[in-house]
């Protein structure tokens, strides 16, 4: 799943086309065609997998994406309710279990709305058409004379009205029509409004149930000791002292198991992939605390494995060396090396970013019950399909024997695309013959994450005599993420050049993007905004370095780069081509709203960054104050976003605020370091989070649009770090090229 295109996008697209070709039901569209007339007639109206209308008027809408704060349980239901013309107050949201009828249920890649927009509109419109048909035939009037509103069909001429609940039985006996067109946006009254989150009333009274709140009869609690060195294995353990802790029931080995790829990809024999559950020892007790206490008493010895020699300074040195040579060529336009050699002026800079952890507020956990050849799981996961495949593999059970209930997620950010903790829970449940909840501590979480990769970037620009960018060369050194799961040196940036690296790729006449690979046993995973989070920092910082070298205004230089006559690449090759007018518009809007160009007092500065990715155009201007001691305070961030059709504007704003906090936390503090192949950070005392006292004022400006919806979860993340770096430069004249910002370099002597 790399950045904007993502394997997710490709999978859904392929399925969609397949469905179109077949001209009938498809997994993605999710039309479930019940045997007509028998099981549904006279009861509930359930024309497809997503909608059920009960005779009492309750409308059950199934949301088959994971809720981790980004809001699909509200926004996807809004799309369905809009097309159905449902009474929003009667809508009941239900979380879909893992079920092939819903298609790909992975939640990631800022895709929930993008990939659901067409099928959900069609599901809603189809159900509405059937209800209209039922009413029209009851009244013996043409269906075209009927309208719908608030869960009722109306016939204006005869002033008649019948509710959806009253029509449910009759509609259930009708054939499901095909190719019903969705509504015109002019008729929207739910989509585009600030509907409140459906879960908020439960959250504020403590009744929202996350994975950690799962309780099933006879459930035991487990804490797992895992190999501290990545790639290490269990040598031996002595359970005597652990068994003596009150409440401890059993101490069992968790086998190391090979896990399949996360998203159903093909994997070759001897691929060299690193996707393993490395095993360990589980202490199983009557309560969580007893399990944790039992684990503390456990005596265990580990084999360190090959990772014991790995440390951060070595990794940094290796990457710095790698970018001096040539890497795997990912994209080349023109003759960049020659043009650079003959350039009137050259600019060169290198940037560094560290490994990062996700640290969802709800630490990883999962409850599993494996008994009698069946496995039932309650899992806070973004990837129930991936968990299902991993359970099939680890337990040797058929997919039909596995039930996965998706709970609410206390944050996701990509961590819960990984399903290691779910496999652990199932293996332990099977070993002890009882339902088990595995609970990770924060220390477990920080030390056994799938980290955002570290990276080192070398950028070079060749300018012509008029100070135009004639050549742009970018060499990235980083470990592969996809390769962890499928094996091989798979570039995370490949195919997503413009999106993943941002301007000026595709807009300068001579361009080179290449990647070298750091080989490491450190697990890597997908972290909110994935490869864009690293590449964009380097590129958007370097654009400003070119601006400074040519004495151009940073916004003006970006305008010039956008004003290319070249045709930039489509996003990943299967998305819509980049619309540079939309990009320029958000850039101009952010500049205008931020007061770009207006003087600021000494020690203050503004910085800009702009991005197209995940189908969304976004620009940010950060305003910072740098104190004499070098400390940096981000006071204000102005965001301009064009994400196409907005489903819920308040939730777009929430994603902007949250994404900026996420990106700013990483820019100011985020750094996972290794010594002896072990993560050195353990909890929030040494892995620092942005807190309320450091929250900048975030102002969001949404461009009105009826283009297809773009993503919102990831787009706000990548730009904040370069915008702040550029603002620091504007304030101080000093360029910080390494994240997290080494602000001590800004201190005035």
């Amino acid at each position: 799943m790399n950045s904007s295109t993502g394997k997710l996008a490709r999978v859904t697209r392929r399925d969609f086309l397949k469905a179109g070709a077949a001209g009938s039901a498809s997994l993605l569209i999710g039309f479930y065609l019940p045997a007509r007339g028998t099981e549904t007639a006279g009861k509930n109206f359930a024309p497809n997998a997503f909608i059920e209308i009960r005779p009492n008027g309750d409308i059950r809408l199934v949301v088959a994406r994971s809720e981790m704060g980004q809001g699909p349980r509200t926004s996807l239901a809004m799309i369905l309710a809009e097309e159905l013309d449902a009474d929003w107050s009667r809508v009941k949201i239900e979380q879909g279990d893992l079920d092939t009828r819903y298609g790909d249920q992975t939640t990631g890649g800022s895709l929930s709305i993008r990939s659901s927009w067409d099928p959900l509109r069609q599901a809603g419109a189809t159900a509405r058409a059937m209800l209209v048909t039922a009413a029209a035939s009851t009244w013996s009037v043409p269906a075209g004379e009927c309208t719908t509103r608030n869960s009722a069909v109306l016939h204006a001429k005869t002033k008649r009205k019948v509710t959806y609940g009253q029509l449910a039985a009759k509609a259930a006996a009708l054939p499901v029509p095909k190719d019903i067109p969705p509504k015109n946006f002019k008729d929207y009254h739910i989509v585009g409004t600030k509907k409140k989150r459906v879960d908020a009333p439960y959250i504020v009274i403590g009744e929202a149930h996350y994975g950690i709140d799962t309780k099933v009869p006879g459930m035991l609690h487990a804490a797992v000791a895992r190999p501290p060195v990545f790639g290490g294995r269990l040598r031996k353990f002595d359970a005597t002292r652990a068994q003596a802790v009150p409440g401890v029931q059993k101490v069992v080995e968790v086998a190391a198991v090979e896990m399949p790829p996360l998203f159903g990809e093909e994997r070759k024999e001897n691929s060299g992939h690193q996707h393993y559950l490395w095993g360990g020892v589980a202490v199983v007790a009557d309560s969580t605390w007893q399990a944790i206490a039992g684990r503390r008493a456990l005596e265990v010895e580990w084999d360190a494995g090959a990772g014991a020699d790995e440390n951060t300074e070595k990794h940094r040195a290796t990457c710095a060396e790698l970018v001096k040579g040539h890497g795997k060529e990912l994209r080349k336009i023109g003759d960049p090396e020659t043009v650079l050699a003959g350039a009137a002026k050259k600019v060169e800079a290198e940037y560094e970013l560290p490994f990062l952890a996700h640290t969802t507020m709800e630490p990883p956990n999962c409850t599993a019950s494996v008994r009698d050849g069946k496995c039932e799981v309650w899992a806070p996961v973004q990837n129930p399909g991936g968990l299902g495949a991993a359970l099939v593999s680890a337990l040797g059970l058929p997919a039909s024997a596995i039930t996965i209930h998706v709970t609410l997620l206390g944050g996701g950010f990509g961590r819960r695309l990984n399903i290691d903790y779910g496999v652990e829970a199932a293996l332990i449940s099977r070993a002890v013959g009882a339902p088990v909840k595995v609970q990770w501590t924060r220390e477990d979480d920080l030390r056994h994450d799938y980290y955002r990769p570290m990276s080192h970037h070398r950028l070079r620009a060749g300018l012509d005599a008029q100070n135009n960018v004639a050549a742009w060369l970018h060499h990235v050194a980083a470990p592969t993420t996809d390769g962890v799961y499928v094996g091989g040196d798979v570039p995370d940036t490949g195919g997503t050049e413009l999106a993943g690296v941002g301007l000026p790729n595709g807009t300068v006449p001579n361009y080179l993007l290449e990647q070298s690979f750091l080989h490491t046993i450190v697990p890597r995973g997908y972290w909110r905004s994935v490869d864009v989070s690293w590449n964009h920092f380097a590129v958007q910082s370097f654009i400003d370095e070119v601006a400074a070298a040519t004495k151009k205004d940073p916004v003006e230089l970006r305008r010039q780069l956008i004003a290319t006559k070249q045709k930039p690449a489509a996003e990943g090759g299967d998305e819509k081509p980049v619309n540079l007018d939309r990009l320029r518009h958000v850039l101009d809007l952010a500049a205008e709203k931020s007061g770009w160009g207006k003087p600021l007092p000494p020690g203050r500065g503004r910085g800009v960054a702009a991005l197209y990715s995940w189908g969304t155009y976004i620009a940010q201007v950060a305003e910072v104050a740098v104190a004499k001691d070098g400390s940096v305070r981000v006071d204000r961030v102005v965001v301009a976003i064009d994400c196409g059709q907005v489903i819920n504007p308040d939730m777009v704003v929430a994603q902007m605020e949250g994404g900026i906090v996420f990106g700013l936390t990483a820019a100011l503090y985020g750094e996972i370091t290794l010594e002896g192949g072990q993560t050195q950070q353990s909890n929030f005392n040494n892995y620092t989070m942005l807190r309320i006292n450091e929250m900048p004022r975030v102002e969001v400006h949404i461009v009105p649009s009826h283009e297809s919806p773009g993503g919102c979860g990831e787009p706000p993340v990548p730009s904040i770090a370069p915008a702040v770096a550029n603002a620091i430069f504007a304030a101080t004249g000093k360029r910080l090229r390494r994240l997290p910002f080494q602000t001590q370099e800004l201190a005035q002597a």
Binding site: M68, G69, Q70, K194, K196, R197, D199, A200, P201, I203, V204, I205, G206, E207, A208, H209, Y210, I212, K215, H221, P246, G247, S287, T288, W289, Q290, A293, T359, T360, M361, E362, P363, L408, L409, G410, G411, G412, F413, T441, R442, E443, D650, A654, E657, G658, G659, I660, V661, F662, N683, F684, N685, M689, L690, R691, I692, N693, M695, R697, V698
Partner: protein
């Protein structure tokens, strides 16, 4: 092991757990009050915040033996019907994203408002900077605290009164 007596949301419980068990896990595992969340286990994130005799307290580092005989209020006892001004303001301002940390934020805010009915931004930051929200809802939290303060009456914040019905 001897039973330890604690009063939670106005109800007396005798719990048989090891005296070093954190209050958090007694609430969650023994009493089934799962509204209080586990975030860090080191009093660094605030997700586990409850009131002990009206004071905002981190339950993850509070041993059960230290709260014997004390009055503990959890989110389940903050109001009988979810109508505490803080809870209402949290919905009105649409604060929660994933919502996991918000119970702790709400409990600290309720304790703050009981003492200071009109906190400034700086006072809000001071009270809540011990909390972490990974979804980044801080801007809305500030707005919600101000809104709750504007509707706040001392009676509404008194947790014991709210829990009276459960006795």
């Amino acid at each position: 092991m001897d039973a330890i007596s604690i009063t939670v949301n106005g109800k007396v419980h005798a719990v048989e757990v090891s005296p070093d068990t954190p209050l958090l896990w007694v609430l969650r595992d023994t009493l089934g009050l799962t509204g209080t969340k586990f975030g860090c286990g080191m009093a660094l994130c605030g997700a586990c915040t409850v009131h002990v005799d009206g004071e905002a307290t981190r339950s993850c580092t509070t041993r059960i033996s230290a709260v014997a005989g004390r009055n503990i209020t959890t989110i389940e006892g903050l109001s009988p019907d979810g109508q505490n001004p803080v809870q209402l303001a949290w919905i009105e301002e649409q604060v929660p994203q994933c919502g996991y940390c918000q119970v702790g934020m709400i409990m600290t805010t309720a304790a703050l408002l009981a003492k200071n009915s009109a906190p400034t931004d700086a006072e809000i930051d001071d009270a809540l900077s011990g909390h972490i929200c990974r979804c980044g809802t801080y801007q809305r939290i500030r707005a919600a605290v101000h809104q709750a303060a504007s509707k706040h009456t001392p009676a509404a914040a008194a947790p014991k009164k709210a829990a009276g019905g459960a006795r």
